[in-house]
C-alpha cells in the first residue's frame, strides 16, 4: 500500500544566526493511513519543524514531501492554503480557537471555508461536539471553556474538514494530567473507530505510552522508530 505521507531526504536550514541551524537533517519518513504516531525528542530536536513541513505550513530547504502522491514541498502559497484546507487537520499547543466564535461556530468555520451547506455544517459540528463529550458547550466562546475543553473543540475542528490526517504539535502541553488522559483517549478512540490518522509530538511519557508508533528525533534526524502492537 502506498504511503499516505512520504517525506524523502528533507532538510531544513535556518540562516537567522551567523551559524546556520540544521533543524531537520536529511530525514526520510513514511506514514501510512490509520497511524497513531508520536514524534518525541528533546527540546529543539526539530519536532515542530518536522510537523510544519509535513503539514505544508513550512517548506523544506531540500527534499520532497508527497501526500497521496502530490508533492507539496514546491507548491505555491495559495495552492498550499487550499491543499491544507481539504487535506490536513491541525491541533495546536495553545488551542488557538477563534475567540469571538462559539465552540460550534469554530467547528463550522472550517467547513464554511470548504463551502459546505449550513445544514451539513451544523449537523457535523454537533456530531463532533458529541463525540468529544462537549455538546453542552456548543454555544460557549473559548474564553468560557477550560483548557481541556478548548483542546477538545480544537480536535473537533481538525476533524470537521474530513482531512487525510491530523497533525498535533504538543496538544497536551498546556493540559493537566486528567485532561491529557481524557484528550488522548478521545483521539485514540476516533483513530480506532474512524481510521483517522494522527501524528502528534509530545514530551509527556504518558502520551508516548498511548502511541502505536514512536519516532524519536535528535538534532533533526530519526534515531529510533518503533511500532508497537
Amino acid at each position: 500500500m502506498a504511503a499516505l505521507i512520504k517525506a524523502t531526504n528533507i532538510t531544513k536550514v535556518y540562516h537567522k544566526t551567523s551559524v546556520p541551524v540544521h533543524a531537520i537533517n536529511n530525514l526520510s519518513v513514511e506514514i501510512a493511513e490509520g497511524e497513531f504516531t508520536a514524534i518525541v525528542g528533546p527540546s529543539g530536536c526539530g519536532k515542530t519543524t518536522l510537523l510544519n513541513i509535513l503539514g505544508g505550513l513550512d517548506q523544506p530547504t531540500s527534499g520532497t514531501v508527497m501526500i497521496d502522491g502530490v508533492d507539496i514541498s514546491r507548491m505555491k502559497d495559495s495552492d498550499l492554503i487550499d491543499f491544507r484546507l481539504h487535506n490536513i487537520g491541525f491541533v495546536f499547543q495553545a488551542y488557538n480557537l477563534i475567540p469571538v466564535l462559539t465552540a460550534l461556530e469554530n467547528i463550522e468555520f472550517i467547513m464554511l471555508l470548504q463551502k459546505r451547506s449550513r445544514k451539513e455544517r451544523v449537523a457535523r459540528a454537533k456530531e463532533l461536539l458529541e463525540q468529544m463529550n462537549i455538546a453542552d458547550k456548543a454555544d460557549h466562546r473559548p474564553g468560557e471553556l477550560s483548557g481541556g475543553q478548548q483542546q477538545r473543540v480544537a480536535v473537533a475542528r481538525a476533524l470537521a474538514s474530513n482531512p487525510r490526517f491530523i497533525l498535533a504539535d504538543e496538544p497536551t502541553a498546556n493540559l493537566d494530567s486528567v485532561s491529557t488522559e481524557n484528550l488522548l483517549d478521545l483521539m485514540a478512540r476516533i483513530n480506532r473507530e474512524q481510521k483517522a490518522t494522527f501524528i502528534f509530538s509530545t514530551h509527556d511519557q504518558r502520551v508516548m505510552d498511548k502511541a502505536r508508533r514512536l519516532i524519536r528525533l535528535v538534532d533533526g534526524a530519526i534515531v529510533s522508530d518503533d511500532v508497537r502492537s
Binding site: 505550513l57 513550512d58 502559497d77 491541525f90 495546536f92 461556530e105 468555520f109 472550517i110 471555508l113
Partner: protein, 404 residues
C-alpha cells in the same frame, strides 16, 4: 460568517472601538452641520440677490445691455408681459425704464442708476416696498417721488421730503433734469440699491427721457421649482429679437456661489475624514497586530489571504460606519431645528448686510449632500482599511503560530 466575525471583532475592545465610533459620530455631525451652515450663507446670498435684485429672469433689447443706451427699448413690451403672465411658472412681472445719470442735493452730487418702476409691479417682483425703512412707498410727497438707499441719502445729506435733482441725457441727446422729492429711504443689503440707485415712477422718467411708454427692462419671478434656464429659452424662442436671460446668465457670481456649495462640502469631507482616517488606521493596525496569532491560525487552517483581507476591510467598514447613522441623524436634526428657527446673526449683521447677507441664516442641506457624505465616509473607511488588511495578509502562519 466573515461579516459576523468582523462585527464581533469590532466589539472585542469596546472602549477602543467606542472612541473611534464616537469620533465618527462627532465628525459626521460637524461635517453635516458645518456644510449646512456654510451653505446657508451662500444660499441666503443667492436668494436675496434673486429676490431683491436680479429676479429669476430679465429681458432687454440686446444692444441695451452693452452700455445702457436708452434708445434701445424693448420692441413689444405688452406682448411679452402678456406672454409671461400666461405662463404658469411665472409669478410676477415688472417693467422698468433705466438711465444712468447724476443725482444732486443742495450739498452733494454723485453718479446713480435711475430706475423708473411701476410701484405695484415692483412691490411684487423685488419686494421694493419691504425695504422702506423711513417714509413711504412713492407716497406722501407733493411732486415727483423718489426712493433712495440709506447710504446714498447719507452721502447726499438728504432726508425725507428733501428735494433732489436728477440729471441725464434724453433720447435726443439733450441734457435734461427733473426735480424729485424723497418719499422713502430704503434699507437694503444690496450695495447697488443702498448707494447706487434712485427709484422713480416710470411715467415720470419716461416723460423726461421722451420715450413715451417704452420699456428697457422686464423682470419676472417664477414659482419655486421652476427650471429658470428652460423657461428663459422658451421666452427667448418666442421673442427672438430680444435678449432673455435667467439669473444664471445675469449673475455669474451667483452661479459660482452655487457651485461653491458643493465644493465646500467636499472640502469639509476631505479635511474631517482625513483626520478621522488616521484614528481608524491606528485602531485597525492595533487590532491586526494583537491578532497576529489568530490570523496566522486562520491562514494555517486554510483561509485564503483574500478572505482575510476582506475580513479586515469589513471590520474597518463596520468600525467606521457604525457611528454614521447616529452622526447623520444628529446632523439632520440639528439642521432641521436650526433651519426652522434660524440662526440670528444680527449682532454681526451690520458687517454681513454690507456684503449682501440676510442676518438670520437657515442652515440646510440637500438630500444629495447626505448621499455625498455617506459616499465620503465609505471611501474613507475602505482607504483606511487597506494598510491594516495588507499587514494582516503578509503574515506567515509558521511565524505567527510560533509567536515570533
Amino acid at each position: 460568517m466573515l461579516a459576523i466575525l468582523a462585527w464581533r471583532n469590532v466589539w472585542r475592545h469596546k472602549g477602543r472601538s467606542a472612541v473611534v465610533i464616537g469620533a465618527m459620530v462627532v465628525g459626521i455631525w460637524s461635517l453635516t452641520f458645518g456644510a449646512a451652515f456654510m451653505n446657508s450663507f451662500l444660499l441666503s446670498y443667492i436668494e436675496t440677490s434673486i429676490r431683491h435684485d436680479v429676479s429669476n429672469g430679465q429681458i432687454h433689447h440686446p444692444e441695451f445691455t452693452k452700455d445702457f443706451d436708452i434708445k434701445f427699448t424693448i420692441a413689444e413690451p405688452e406682448r411679452i408681459v402678456r406672454f409671461l403672465e400666461e405662463n404658469e411658472s411665472v409669478a410676477h412681472v415688472a417693467r422698468r425704464s433705466i438711465v444712468n445719470g447724476m443725482i444732486a442735493s443742495s450739498r452733494q452730487a454723485t453718479g446713480v442708476k435711475i430706475v423708473g418702476v411701476e410701484p405695484a409691479e415692483e412691490s411684487r417682483v423685488t419686494l421694493l416696498d419691504s425695504l422702506i425703512s423711513e417714509g413711504s412707498y412713492f407716497e406722501g410727497v407733493t411732486g415727483h417721488p423718489v426712493l433712495l438707499g440709506r447710504r446714498l441719502s447719507e452721502k447726499l445729506k438728504v432726508g425725507l421730503k428733501s428735494k433732489i435733482v436728477l440729471t441725464f441725457q434724453d433720447v435726443e441727446g439733450n441734457i435734461t433734469a427733473g426735480s424729485f422729492r424723497v418719499a422713502g429711504i430704503l434699507d437694503a443689503s444690496s450695495t447697488t440699491i443702498d448707494e447706487g440707485s434712485a427709484f422713480v415712477l416710470r411715467e415720470d422718467l419716461n416723460r423726461l427721457l421722451g420715450i413715451r411708454d417704452a420699456v428697457h427692462e422686464i423682470a419676472y419671478t417664477t414659482f419655486p421649482g421652476t427650471e429658470d434656464d428652460v423657461l428663459a429659452s422658451q421666452v427667448q424662442a418666442a421673442f427672438p429679437n430680444e435678449m432673455v436671460r435667467s439669473w444664471h446668465d445675469l449673475s455669474p457670481l451667483l452661479v459660482f456661489m452655487e457651485q461653491w456649495m458643493g465644493a465646500i462640502l467636499q472640502m469639509l469631507i476631505v479635511i474631517i475624514m482625513l483626520a478621522l482616517a488616521f484614528g481608524i488606521v491606528n485602531t485597525m493596525l492595533m487590532a491586526v497586530l494583537e491578532r497576529v496569532r489568530e490570523v496566522g491560525v486562520m491562514i494555517a487552517l486554510g483561509t485564503r489571504r483574500g478572505r482575510v483581507f476582506l475580513m479586515i476591510v469589513i471590520e474597518t467598514l463596520f468600525l467606521s460606519t457604525a457611528g454614521g447613522p447616529v452622526g447623520l441623524l444628529a446632523g439632520y436634526l440639528t439642521i432641521s431645528w436650526l433651519g426652522k428657527r434660524g440662526i440670528d446673526l444680527s449682532d454681526y449683521s451690520e458687517g454681513l448686510k454690507s456684503i449682501g447677507y440676510e442676518s438670520v441664516l437657515h442652515p440646510q442641506l440637500f438630500p444629495s449632500d447626505y448621499v455625498t457624505i455617506v459616499i465620503g465616509v465609505l471611501i474613507t473607511a475602505i482607504l483606511a482599511s487597506l494598510y491594516p488588511a495588507w499587514k494582516a495578509i503578509r503574515m506567515q502562519p509558521v511565524d505567527a503560530i510560533r509567536g515570533v
